[in-house]
Amino acid sequence: MLEHIELFFRSIFIDNMVFAVFLGMCSYLAVSKKVATAVGLGAAVIFVLAVTVPLNWLLDQYLLRDGALAWLGPEYADYNLSFLSFILFIATIATMVQLVEIVVEKFSPALYNSLGIFLPLIAVNCAILGGSLFMQSREIASLGLAFNYGVSSGIGWFLAILAIAAIREKIRYSNVPAPLRGLGITFIITGLMGIGFQSFGGMLTGGGNETAPAVDETAVRKIEQNLLPEETEEIKKEIDEKEVSYNDAINK
């Protein structure tokens, strides 16, 4: 139960799809001019992620992983079909999006009309494929966790597009410099929101045994590349033993 809660909050705030890994930026930038369409698109993304991530987890578990075909018979245990992941994932996503389109058109024609071209474009939204690929690379352990991951990533994306749409509606009456108007200022505001969301990084590490968020890996790799092995060990020990600020850890 605890790992479900942890995955839920981690996917919404710490590994937020827009601010931490920049997935789904194209539709994020294009649809965020009005809050109403942003809400509609966000809801569609949550729904599609909630459906495709568990489906792709099943595909990965029983077809694509190294040794996944063992349930067919012992002679198939050596097969590794993971190179087919991209094609199979995108095929399930395209199919599910087509289904979602039909359902939305039947039950809510108003939403269908306001979303226009963006509903079929969800199929090529990096957030959807990214959700499945991250599910695969982080080796999510069970179907329940996969569903949890899909829903919470979708909620994170939804929060992001809702926030930027609300802000863009407000700054229409602000004095933005002409070259920054529209796209430029949206980029900078998204960057500032991203910095704000970084503050959630300490949310789940209070216990002391948690792994650091993914963004630290590049920083640590940089430290290791420039140092002799002895110096790296020394600094790692120092970082472990006392609380160092993020800036100090990178610049040591």
Partner: protein, 215 residues
């Protein structure tokens, strides 16, 4: 070797500045931001997109009269997915460390809007040679932004270029670090890429006022 005609040359040169896929057409933003913390990763990503877009454009252009309109998105997705699988396997075989840094973003080239965007906007309506040039041009435009962002982020964020320390050694305080200069940790975190691209857009639109959006 025949020189390219003026129109053909403009297919390559336009996307480099005035019709840049990232800053003007607003396509392909996702991977442009996430992997630019290192210059090497940016260049490898740019080359991958060059390969996929160039060959993909030619294939779709050759097939354009045979693809039924109803399933054209699926055909495009299959072509791109196949090319990306090739790129991914080559990277895993010859540059394993780098493929770990790029992780899922190589796979996300499939959903990179530039590729589908150029298929729809150009390859489906033009011949193979022109489509190839258009693909190369847009991939180069994408690559230029990636390289600029990667250059500044790596230089200011860790004082290295391609992994080689160019400003001195931060531990033993040689070179620029002797004056008290410190690496800017902000440049390594993801939001820095958004702000650098915002600044690039600012500069580009100040120089070419025709690109400014009306409110």
């Amino acid at each position: 070797m025949a020189l390219l005609t003026k129109k053909d040359a403009s297919l390559i040169l336009d996307p480099l500045a005035d019709n840049n896929p990232i800053t003007i057409q607003v396509l392909g933003i996702c991977s442009a931001l996430a992997i630019t913390a290192e210059l090497k990763a940016s260049i490898v990503m740019a080359i991958s997109v060059l390969f996929v877009l160039g060959i993909g454009n030619v294939v779709i252009s050759l097939l354009r009269n045979i693809i039924p309109s109803k399933i054209r998105i699926i055909v495009q997705l299959i072509v791109v997915a196949t090319l990306v699988i090739i790129v991914d396997q080559v990277l895993k075989a010859y540059a394993y460390e780098l493929s770990k840094t790029l992780s899922v973003f190589v796979g996300l080239i499939i959903t990179n809007c530039i590729i589908m965007g150029r298929f729809e906007a150009f390859a489906l309506g033009n011949g193979p040679w022109k489509s190839f040039l258009d693909g190369i041009g847009n991939a180069l435009g994408y690559g230029i932004i990636l390289i600029i962002v990667g250059f500044f982020r790596e230089l200011l964020g860790s004082g290295t270029l391609f992994g080689f320390p160019v400003l001195g050694n931060p531990i033993s305080k040689t070179g620029l670090y002797a004056t008290g200069y410190e690496n800017n940790g902000f440049m390594i975190i993801p939001p820095a890429a958004l702000i650098v691209v915002g600044i690039i857009i600012w500069i580009q639109r100040s120089r070419n006022t025709a690109l400014i959006e009306d409110n």
